[in-house]
Amino acid sequence: MTDFLDAVVLLTNFVLVPGVTYGSQLALGALGVTLIYGILRFANFAHGDMMAFGAMVVIFMTWWLQSLGVSIAPLPVALVALPVGIVAAIAMSLATDRLVYRFYRRSKAPSVIYILTSIGVMFVMNGIVRFIIGPDDQRFTDGARFIITARGFKEATGLHEGLAIKLTQALTVLITLIVVVALFRFLQKSRTGKAMRAYSDNEDLALLSGVSPERVVFFAWLIAAALATIAGSLYGLDKSFKPFTYFQLLLPIFASAIVGGIGQPLGAVVGGFIIAFSEVTITYAYKKFLRYLLPDSWAPESLVQFLSTDYKFAISFVILVVVLLVRPTGIYGGRSS
């Protein structure tokens, strides 16, 4: 019986907890991408660097608050700084829209132009973030680190395996849940949300019904920037802030959005978890897990690892390619691009 519990705890510690956390972070990122795709109809490659930009503002604000001695222990001060980061990211998004994207929107540019433009915006944003905060790792976590520590869990339960849950992991999941519920309520119930959905489903019909396109675009950027900042800050809090890692996150985020069906908010959330769990479960080595479950004579000698962890990012790629080949509209039947 303890063997079985050990096996469960082992898998929870190394697969379930990291998977849920990472899935939440991807879901938040993918929601932003999918929203911009639904309203503005282009794949926004600058989204990863918008996450870095928002997180950067949060970090500066956090440092400033920390220097003033502000503390909301056990919670990290970054939560207080979050709204400032969101406002800054929204301002940045709207400025970019005004300066860059609006020109192409008015000239009814084809979507490939938008995509290339967003790659340009991505590089500019990338440069701005590195110029201001530098390319290095930054630490801005404070408050308690753990809810459950591995050692504490072992002592409390008497099991061989430990279970650790970081405060930042719990916060990530909790905040994601709140944000996703709030966003879905907004899209389903509010007038603006309905207008956005209408605009996304059928632009011409929405315009005929009196939906103001500039207003819809304004809200799309506003929500996308807020989501990006929250996702970026949570990722930085939980893992580490380094501008380059946000650039790397772009691939799994796009894979999440496309797997779920791009333009479908629910798909983005589901896609985020699918990608996260695929990455974690495929690169995990099941040797120890099977040793707990199987009789000694059956216990595997090899690691029972499907793919080396080096190939983590490749998994997103493979899923992306397979989905685009087999079901280009994704699980929830979004647009095929």
């Binding site: 190394f14 430990g162 380094k242 099941y286 120890k288 690691l303 690892q305 080396s308 962890t309 983590k312």
Partner: protein, 405 residues
């Protein structure tokens, strides 16, 4: 009319060149500098180590200049370049600049094995410039086509892997998982450790590479933990993936016993990780010889903290170049190459840190020196340090030397 004008201006030009040439020539002789490049990764994964290394090399150069004995009073001027530790193209470009634009006589560096190899292959060896690396430790560097121009005051990791395996055997640790940074340094060290440790009868449950610069190492740590090993050997960098792996291991309770190689040794690692690192053991090139102690006092007198990874080796690299220049009697690049082995090894008067003036004087008088320096320099026939290693353990938040191997 036109014709004669041309003749006049040409004559004037010749006269001008001749005059300035004559005017400059004596000045060049008295106040000329010997430029020596220092190529370290001032940005990148070991950027917290390099300032101390560069300061140590520059300390030796200052000592040489202040002695006034180098080729009858020449100054030894350091020119820094950034190897970035990881970007071969950037490192080669930096070395190219030092060699062609700054015309350095020799190079102290580079630091990390990968960039050192590409600088040696692409620019230093083709241009006939001596490189003395204080910290590139990949076994592969023993066998590159260096035409005798590459030296190192750091020993090859073939030796470090052996020493580390010996240390683990002596401590009764026979079951480990290995994670190494995915480059020449990490792979070379992992291989030599693998051979030595298995020969001792130890078992490596898993040996996996990790990429530097990722935000999240939970998948890597999860796989390592699943191997069932109780101890984790980390061949990485303390500012990079190595730190991430250890942090994640402690967070998830995957490992609490760590074995570190030289790239992981540094106070910043302990400052970042905290108490969880207590009890970790590691190896670092170096010794506690008279030279090593002397170097600490010479360094602190010069305003440099000499107590850090590869600082003594950096001082020694610069000192070797200075002595070789003196022995050759000129700052000519190939002349330097011909003399490095002669000043590093016996026979001759032993020279310790702080005694460079004495060494330069002996060479000027036609004698021979056997430079010992901070790291007991003794170059093997492929031009690398034979190497002694410190066995370190983290005790109460600091690396403490346990013994010398």
């Amino acid at each position: 009319m036109k014709f004669s004008n041309r003749i006049i201006s040409a004559a004037a030009a010749v006269a001008f060149v001749a005059a300035t040439g004559f005017a400059l020539a004596p000045a060049a002789k008295a106040g000329d500098d010997v430029k020596v490049g220092i190529i370290f990764g001032f940005t990148g994964p070991i950027e917290s180590l390099t300032p101390g290394m560069a300061a140590s090399a520059e300390l030796a150069m200052k000592e040489v200049t202040d002695s006034g004995k180098l080729l009858g009073g020449m100054a030894m001027v350091p020119v820094r370049g950034d190897s970035t530790c990881v970007d071969s193209a950037a490192a080669t470009a930096a070395a190219e600049r030092l060699i062609t634009a700054d015309s350095v006589a020799a190079i102290v560096g580079a630091d990390c094995s990968g960039v050192t190899t590409s600088i040696a292959n692409n620019t230093a060896v083709p241009n006939g410039v001596v490189m003395v690396s204080p910290s590139a430790t990949s076994p592969a560097l023993s066998t590159i086509e260096d035409k005798g121009y590459f030296f190192r005051t750091a020993p090859s990791d073939a030796r470090q892997g052996q020493v580390l395996a010996d240390v683990l055997k002596a401590r009764g640790i026979m079951n480990v998982a290995v994670t190494y940074t995915n480059n020449d340094y990490g792979k070379g060290l992992a291989e030599s450790f693998d051979n030595a440790f298995t020969a001792h009868g130890g078992k490596i449950e898993m040996s996996a590479a990790h990429e530097d610069g990722k935000g999240d190492y939970s998948a890597e740590v999860g796989a390592l933990a699943a191997s069932g090993a109780a101890n984790l050997v980390v061949f990485g960098y303390l500012d990079q993936g190595g730190k991430g792996i250890i942090q994640t291991s402690l967070d998830t309770g995957a490992f609490d016993s760590f074995i570190l190689a030289d790239g992981m040794i540094g106070q910043t690692l302990i400052d970042n990780i905290g108490a969880g690192l207590n009890g970790a053991i590691g190896t670092l090139p170096g010794s506690e010889s008279e030279g090593a102690k002397l170097f600490l006092s010479v360094a602190s007198a010069g305003g440099v903290d000499g107590d850090g990874p590869f600082r003594g080796e950096s001082y020694d690299a610069a000192a070797l170049i200075a002595l070789a220049i003196q022995a050759a009697g000129s700052a000519d690049r190939s002349a330097i190459q011909a003399k490095i082995m002669a000043v590093a090894n016996a026979p001759g008067e032993q020279i310790l840190p702080g005694q460079l003036a004495k060494g330069l004087q002996i060479l000027a008088d036609g004698g021979e020196v056997d430079y010992q320096g901070a790291s007991n320099v003794e170059l093997t026939d492929v031009g690398e340090a034979a190497g002694s290693y410190k066995e370190l353990e983290v005790v109460n938040g600091a690396f403490k030397t346990i013994s010398i191997h």
